[in-house]
Structures are given as C-alpha cells and as structure tokens.
C-alpha cells in the first residue's frame, strides 16, 4: 500500500471550497452587521467552519472501503432518524425538519442524503447489475424513493427532490443508456408538462417524436405506452375531481412563489438587491440596508443576494466560478477514480451539491420558487456547514486514493 501524501489532495477543489467558506464568513458578517438582531453570528460561523474542516479531515483519512462496507447500515440508521423527525421533530414555518438532540439541532435529511448516495453507490457497483434490463432498475429506485417520501412528508419539497435527481445522475453514471433514462423519466415529463401547459397534447407529441427517434423494443414500448397512458388518463380526472381549495393548495405547493403574502415578496426584494448592485457592487458593508432590511433570511437562504448587492456582478461571478470549479473538479474525481463504489459516490455527492447550489441561486435571481434550501458553504448554519464539510472530505478521500482499484 502506498503512503498517502498531502500532495495527492485535489488542491483546486480544496481551494475553491475554502474560498467559498471565506466568502460566506465575510458575507455573514456583513449581513448581520445591521444593529439589532443576529449581531456576532459570524463568530459562531467561524467556529462551525473550524469544526467542519476538522471533521472533513477525519472523513478524508478513513479509507473509503470502510464507507462502502458501512453503506447499508448507515442508510438504515439515517432512515430511522427520518422517521423519528416526523414524530419528535421541532417545527419551524409549519414543517418538521429538525431533531433537537440537546447539544445540537440536527437535520436528518442531510444525513440521509449522504447515506443514500453511499447505499446507491454500493448497490449500483454490483457487477451483476445490468441497467439495460428493466427489473434491475428497481432496487436503486427503492433506495432513493424511501427517503424521498419521508422527507416530502416533513414537508420539505426542496430537499426531497434532491433524491430523484441524485438517482438519475447515478443511474447514468452506472451505465444506464440515455434512451432508457429518457423513457424512464417520461411519466415525470408527462406530469410536469401537464401542470405547465394544462393539456396533455404537448406531451403526446413529444413522446411520439421520441418513440420514432429511439424505436424501443416491443415489450418496452407497450410498458411505456401503458404507463404514460394511465398517467394521462388519471391526471386530468383527479384534477377535475378536486375542490377549488384543494387545487389552490397544490398550486401553492408546486409554486410557492405565487403565495402573495410571503415568498413572492422575498424574491422581489432579492432581485432589487442584486440588480441594484450593478457590475461593481455598492461595496463591502455598504449594501443599502433599505432593501435588505426587508429580506428576512439574508444571512441564510438569501445570502447570495447580499453578495450580489455589495460585490456586484464581479463578486457574484467569482462565487459562480468557485462553485463551477468545485463541481467540475468533483466530477473529475469521479472520472479518475478506478473504484466503482468510489466513482459512483463522487457523482452522487457532487450532484447533491450541484442541486443545492442551482436551486438556491435560481431562487435569488427570481427564476425558481422559494424552497428554503441554503447555499452550500456560504449560508449561515452549523449543520449545513458540517454536512458540506463531510461531502468535501469524502471527495478528497477519493482524490487521495484515486489510483486504488
């Protein structure tokens, strides 16, 4: 066995992560510098950053094969927490997401994300698995579905959607042909197009075109048509059968930005903050608190708005580039890793980060609904920072041992 050297770390990824943490610390300081509430939060964030780095280095030093062998127990353990939070969770904003363990408030969905990635990686690493065969899709599907449903019940739609997205990316990485992937996702497109356009003809057209181009085999074709046909049959009837107030509930659920009393307002304030920053920004600590005083979550979910306002397009783009570097290096780790489990785990971890970054940033520029997901490494919050540390630690772990089979 080779001795591990510090030189084997993925330095660009590490620098990007530390850079983002630094930007986060400075921005938390700025966002909470208004006299009044939250003063001094940056000191706690600094402490959390230290803890996160410490935990990351421990995580990185344990051989990833140990994670491989612990994947299923860890997954089961995380599900227990997800169930527990539904019963004993403390609620905030009408959702039960946190488990109060006394010394720390802990969000089980974060643990579940990492554990699910590991369990999926272990399952998909099975050499007997052939994703071209329909029935081999199901065990991984089930692994992702259980935490998805449990998190959805909290309810935390934003976080729960990370599970299917991770699953799709890992399916792809494990060798599922793109055409199969497209067909497997067709009911999702079916539902999505129905809610966007209000009619099923759009989907029927697209689906027909896909069938012509990809020409699936007869049994697959029949299964697909039956699956989508039944979705298409049931969907409008279910919709018509609902009461007005139930429809309204679903609409607000799917598009919380429509809620005129809360989140629509935050998005507009966020856009004003970013837009008024211009190219060069208003200067560090000089964001007009006018606009920001209206932004209730400016040091957590809407921290990127503060970056945009004070540091302008340059600052915002710097953050974008740091994230791009982090994620691209992450996928590179996956590409270079010769160990099946390790490579798959890397893809899952990076995709989870990618999802969080995109959902949060799109929200702050007004292109996505308010979902309550923090920005990884930047937003204030102990649990999130430690979880991000674990994710980076695992990726570095794989980078350190990239030559091992």
């Amino acid at each position: 066995m080779r001795r591990l050297g510090a030189l084997e770390l993925d330095w660009p990824m590490l620098i990007a992560a530390l850079g983002l943490m630094a930007v986060g610390l400075f921005t938390v300081y700025s966002a909470t510098s208004v006299p009044g509430s939250h003063e001094g939060l940056w000191q706690r964030q600094l402490m959390w950053a230290g803890i996160a780095i410490f935990i990351a280095s421990i995580i990185a030093s344990i051989h990833f094969r140990i994670y491989d062998s612990l994947a299923y127990p860890l997954y089961a353990f995380s599900l227990v927490f997800l169930v527990a939070v539904l019963f004993f969770g403390s609620s905030a904003y009408g959702a039960k997401r946190w488990l109060d363990l006394g010394f720390i408030k802990f969000q089980p969905s974060e643990l579940a994300k990492i554990a699910t990635v590991m369990a999926l990686a272990r399952r998909l690493d099975d050499p007997k698995l052939d994703l071209r065969r329909f029935r081999h899709w199901f065990p991984p599907l089930l692994i992702a579905l259980v935490p998805f449903v449990l998190v959805m019940k909290e309810p935390d739609l934003g976080t729960s959607l990370a599970f299917p997205i991770i699953l799709v990316a890992m399916y792809f990485w494990a060798g599922m042909p793109v055409s199969h992937l497209v067909f497997g996702l067709s009911p999702v497109f079916n539902v999505a197009l129905f809610f966007v356009t209000g009619s099923l003809w759009w989907f029927a057209g697209l689906f027909g075109a896909l069938l012509v181009v990809l020409r699936p085999r007869a049994p697959v074709l029949v299964a697909l048509v039956i699956l989508n046909g039944s979705v298409a049959m049931v969907l409008p009837r279910m919709w018509e059968g609902l009461h007005d107030y139930q429809k309204r509930r679903i609409e607000t659920f799917l598009n919380p930005g429509q809620d005129p009393h809360g989140s629509g307002y935050q998005i507009i304030q966020s856009k004003v903050a970013i837009g008024s920053g211009g190219v060069v920004g208003k200067g560090y600590l000089k964001g007009t608190q006018k606009a920001l005083a209206f932004l209730p979550m400016r040091h957590t979910d809407f921290i990127y708005s503060v970056v945009g306002e004070e540091l302008g397009l340059w600052g915002a783009m710097t953050v974008v580039i740091l994230y791009a570097l982090l994620l691209l290096r992450g996928y590179t780790v996956a590409l270079r890793c010769r160990h099946g489990f390790g490579s798959l785990m890397a893809v899952g971890l990076v995709t989870a980060l990618f999802y969080h970054v995109m959902v949060n940033m799109l929200m702050t520029i007004g292109w996505a609904p308010v979902t309550g997901l923090p920005l990884p490494l930047l937003s204030y919050g102990g649990t999130a920072l430690i979880v991000n540390g674990v994710q980076i630690g695992l990726l570095q772990n794989l980078a350190l041992r990239r030559r091992e089979v």
């Binding site: 009461h243 309204r248 005129p260 837009g275």
Partner: protein
C-alpha cells in the same frame, strides 16, 4: 462529458440571470432600491353572495372603508418610534373612535409582524374625512377599501344564514396552510360556516411602491397584480315569501322555533329561531361586552333552536305511536278501546287525559283527532318499547337529519338499554310506556325532525334529506343529497288512515286554528310538559293535505297549549301562502324586507 455539460449549462443560466439583473435592469432596480420600497398589498376577495330560490339577495359583500395602520419600513423605524408615543396612540384612538388599548395592541402587532392592522372597520364618512385631512400628521394611518359582509334583511333568516367574523388566532394557526391570513373573514355559523369553502374567495395581491413614510406612491410595474377571485354565490331552497310569513308569525315570540320544508325534496323553505340576532353586527366586529351580552344569560340568540333546540314532542308524537300501532296490527282505524272518562287507571296510578271531563268512546281516528290521551295510554303497553322505538327511528327521530347546517342536535329516543343505564335494571317500566305513547317522558326532538316527520307522512313515507342550498353558482346544480334512511315501510291503508286523522285534527279537532278556507290542512297539536316552567306549545303539519307542498313545525317555549298558541301561527302562515289575497290576516308587520318587490303577489 454530460455531467460537466450540465454544470456549465446551469452556471451559464445563472450568469445570464445575473447579467440581466445587474446590467440590463440595473438602473430600474437601483431606482427601486434608492428611493422607494416595495410593499405587498392584499386585494381582498369578496365572499360569495347568497340568494333565495327566487333570486332575492340575502347576503353579499359591499365595498366599505376601513382605517388601517401600516407598519413603517425598517429604516424609518427611528422616525416611527419618535412619532408613536402614547399621545399619538390616544389621538388615533380618539379619531377612529376605538379603544386606546386595542389600538395600542394592534399597532404593536403590526410593527412586529410587518402586516397591516385594521383599526376601524366600516368607518363612517366623518372619520374618513378626518383621517384624510390629517394624513400628514398621521404617518402609517390610511383609509383602505375592503369588502364588508352585508345582510340586507337584518335578523331575517339569521340563524340559517349564520354570520362571518374576523378569523381569530387559533383558527389562523389551523388554517394558514389553506391560505387564510389575519383580518380574513371566516364563516362562524349557519350556511356561512357549512359552505365556507365555497363562499370564500381567493385573495389577490399587488406590489406597490411606497415612500419612506410608508405612503403608497404607485404600483410596481413588474409582475401584474393577482386579481382577487370572488367566492361562489349560493342559491338557497329558502323562499323569502315563506320566510317572511314565518318571521311575522313568530314576531312576538320570546323563545321558539319555526321551520317549513318542501316535503317533495326536503328543501328548507323558511327557518325562524327566537330570540334572533343581526348578523351585520358580526361583520363589523363585536366589542367584548356585546359578545358577552349576546352569549350570556338564559336565551342565547345565537342558538338555532330549529336544529339545536331539543324539546319533548308532546302529543305530536302520537303520529309515531299511531303509525306504529297500525303497522304492527295493534289497532286499526275503527278499533274502540275502554272509553275515556278523563283518566285511566294503570298499575295503581291514575293517568289523566288532558280533557278532564273525558272523550267517551272514540275510534283510533277520533282519538288522534281529539288527541285523547286515555286511548293512547292503552296503545302504549301493547305496542311496547322496542316497537315504539323502531317506529320513531323509522322517522329519523333520535338521529341527525343530515341537514347542511353545522352543529345539529340528535335529540333522544330512549330504548331498553338506555333505561337500564339510567335507572338500573328492571325498574317499573309500564308507566313509562303510557307516558311515551303520548310523547311525554324522556323523549327529545328538534323542530326540524318534527317537520321532516310530517313531510314523510305527507308522502306515504318517502324519505328526504333536508337541505338549504340548491345551487352553488359556477359549479353546476347540486345533486339533491340522498336521504340517510330507507323509505318508511307501511301499508297504503295505514298511511291513508293516519293522514285522514291528521286532516280531521285541523278540520274539527284540536287544531282548528290552522284552518285555511278552501284548503285541506293536516296537522297535530302538542303541549309538552316542561319541568322548568310553562308548557311548550307545538304544532306540526303539512298542507294542502291532498297535494302537500309545505311541511312545518312550530315550537313556542313556555307559552301554553299547542292548539291555542302554536296552531294559529301555522294558520296565519298557511293563509298567507295559500290564499291569493294575502292581506287582512294580521295587522301590518313592523318587519321590513329590503327587497319588497318579491313579496308582492304570492300566486301559489
């Protein structure tokens, strides 16, 4: 490589968004940030209106003016604090004529939550004028237009319509996921409550630009306002002509109830409960004292006695006893029993007939016609508790009728098990059967149950489910709800005998005060003994007897005999409805109905 492509595409779109905001819209956004603030204002949706079956308006929402306080934007909080000293609060309270403490609480809450507080609803003109005049010295105080719930006919049909009031804190916690917000109206009783989901509209919203003092400058061009969507209108089965007649008939009643339903489909034609309340009071908001004076004391005016008042049925229950006896072959139309001598000896006790001098020998029809207690005393033990209970349950007594109004009471039809729980096993039960047969004892029914019973007698036992709403506009006609029970099984001959006896009650029996010239009316009087005071007077029936279009029940609490107190009121209502000439029956009423045209000719 696909995943890297996804990353680049994702961040490409973020970059595009940033460039659009920070370069393309920079000037506009800077302007918004520099001198203005954006505020969200709720555009309140009006509740659906309520109409009677002829289209006469019973409830609607009209624009009204509220005096509101809007919290200051954060950075002018300093200015705000210096202005909001106690003399300011006192001044505002004086201006809008509200309690200083309440104003202080409302303003404090508004500043904490950032949401607008209503200081005074439905402000009269002089208050609005004073606020507008002094607006420069009154930062944050504004006049706002909001829909106000109106009931143009005041107390008329108040218990059926119910009332809507401002949502309270507990309801808010429970209903926030459904989109309720502070200041929203919510149905509290009657139709307003049972059809809350239909009546409630969907609030809209618009973003407005306000200056540093919190005053509205203009609306934000970006993002069009979401227009409010009005709630669904309801059309009732209620007929204002019937309602008006019932209201007048019950005008001088202190405590009581009257209900009329259509026996053909169970639709409620009119519903009166006394004492009544004016639902308009609730729209504006009640003071604490007013609420206490309404709910405290003996006669709660908010109680809908038609569905929530439970009364002993008295002799009206003889309808049940008679049909039971006929069905089980205990007696037939011509059966004669021991003649009535004014009392009946049973188990060493004497049971009196209401007519001290006695009825003599009567057949079954005559016994009901004259409400002879002695005859029914003899029926009771022969029928027995189980069969009597069955006969009562077949009419739906002892169960909720399932009417679409909230908080209906069940009443009570005792059975063997009930008596054993209550008095212990095997206690003297025979006297009980005598009392039950004439509707005394532990029986309890609601006026609605009695009217429904008569409706079903009038149609040979065809059951219907009583209901008040005929149509929810915009969702198509409602399919009439299915009755909760099967049709009542009895021979046609038995029904005929019963109906013949009921018609004779009004023609020449105890209910002659309900006669209508030229029409046959069927009915039954009742006088329910009441341990707490005077007897309750009851009269139930249907008309015309040969082609029933209305079934009704009247209960007048603590007033005396059914034949002399309740039956004349039914007669008044029926004459008003059945005779084309609706005048000259009673002195003109003081009850005014806003939409008088609908009352002109009662052609039916």
């Amino acid at each position: 490589m696909a995943l890297a492509g996804a990353v680049l595409a994702g961040f490409g779109s973020i970059t595009a968004g940033l460039v659009r905001l920070q370069v393309g819209e920079h000037v506009e956004m800077s302007r918004l940030a520099r001198d203005n603030h954006i505020r969200l204002e709720v555009l309140r949706a009006p509740r659906g209106s309520i109409y009677d079956c002829n289209g006469v308006l019973l409830a609607d929402s009209a624009p009204s003016f509220s005096i509101v306080f809007r919290p200051f934007p954060a950075e002018s909080l300093q200015t705000g604090r210096s202005l909001l000293d106690s003399s300011w609060v006192a001044r505002i309270a004086g201006l809008v004529e509200a309690d200083t403490g309440e104003v202080r609480t409302a303003v404090a809450l508004a500043n904490k939550t950032g949401k607008t507080a209503v200081l005074r609803r439905n402000a009269p003109f002089y208050i609005r004028a004073a606020v507008e005049e002094g607006r420069d010295g009154l930062p944050g105080v504004e006049v706002q237009i909001e829909p106000l719930r109106r009931y143009p006919n005041g107390i008329m049909a108040a218990h059926l319509l119910g009332y809507a009031g401002e949502i309270n804190d507990e309801e808010l916690v429970e209903r926030q996921p459904l989109g309720y917000n502070p200041g929203d109206l919510i149905g509290r009783s009657g139709i307003e409550r049972s059809y809350e989901d239909m009546l409630r509209g969907q609030d809209g919203a618009e973003f407005v630009i306000v200056n540093a003092m919190g005053r509205r400058v203009s609306t934000l061009s970006e993002g069009p306002p979401r227009l409010p969507v009005a709630g669904h209108d309801l059309v009732l089965t209620l007929d204002i002509k019937v309602q008006q007649a019932l209201e007048e008939a019950m005008e001088d009643v202190e405590r009581g109830a009257a209900i009329a339903i259509d026996p053909r489909d169970g639709g409620v034609l009119g519903l009166v409960s006394r004492p009544a309340f004016d639902p308009n009071e609730f729209s504006v908001g009640l003071t604490q004292e007013r609420w206490k004076s309404l709910t405290g004391g003996g006669a709660n005016p908010l109680l809908n006695r038609v569905i929530q008042g439970v009364y002993p049925p008295g002799s009206t229950f003889k309808v049940v006893t008679m049909l039971g006896a006929l069905r089980y072959g205990i007696a037939n139309a011509g059966t004669r029993l021991v003649p009535c001598s004014g009392s009946y000896q049973f188990g060493g006790r004497s049971f009196g007939c209401w007519k001290r001098e006695g009825h003599g020998s009567l057949d079954f029809i005559g016994a009901l016609q004259h409400s002879c207690d002695v005859y029914f005393y003899q029926i009771g033990p022969r029928l027995g508790l189980a069969r009597l209970e069955q006969a009562a349950r077949d009419f739906g007594l002892g169960e909720r009728t399932g009417i679409d109004l909230p908080e209906e009471k069940k009443g009570l039809i005792p059975n063997e098990a009930w008596y054993e729980r209550r008095f212990g096993a095997g206690k003297g039960r025979k006297g009980t059967m005598l009392n039950l047969a004439i509707g005394q004892g532990e029986l309890l029914v609601t006026p609605l149950q009695l009217a429904l019973m008569m409706a079903e007698v009038s149609t040979d036992g065809r059951t219907v489910r009583p209901h008040v709403v005929r149509e929810v506009r915009g969702t198509g006609p409602l399919t009439p709800p299915r009755p909760a029970r099967d049709h009542i099984a009895a021979d046609r001959g038995n029904w005929k005998t019963l109906r013949q006896a009921l018609a004779l009650v009004v023609e020449s029996g105890t209910g002659t005060a309900a006669r209508v010239p030229g029409f046959a009316v069927a009915g039954k009087t009742g006088t329910a003994q009441n341990p707490h005071g005077e007897d309750h007077a009851l009269f139930v029936g249907y008309a015309p007897a040969d082609d029933p279009r209305i079934a009704f029940a009247f209960v007048i609490e603590n007033s005396g005999h059914g034949g002399s107190i309740a039956a004349p009121r039914a007669g008044f209502v029926l004459r008003r409805l059945l005779l084309a000439d609706s005048t000259a029956v009673r002195p003109p009423s003081t009850l005014a109905v806003a939409t008088g045209d609908s009352l002109g000719g009662s052609g039916d």
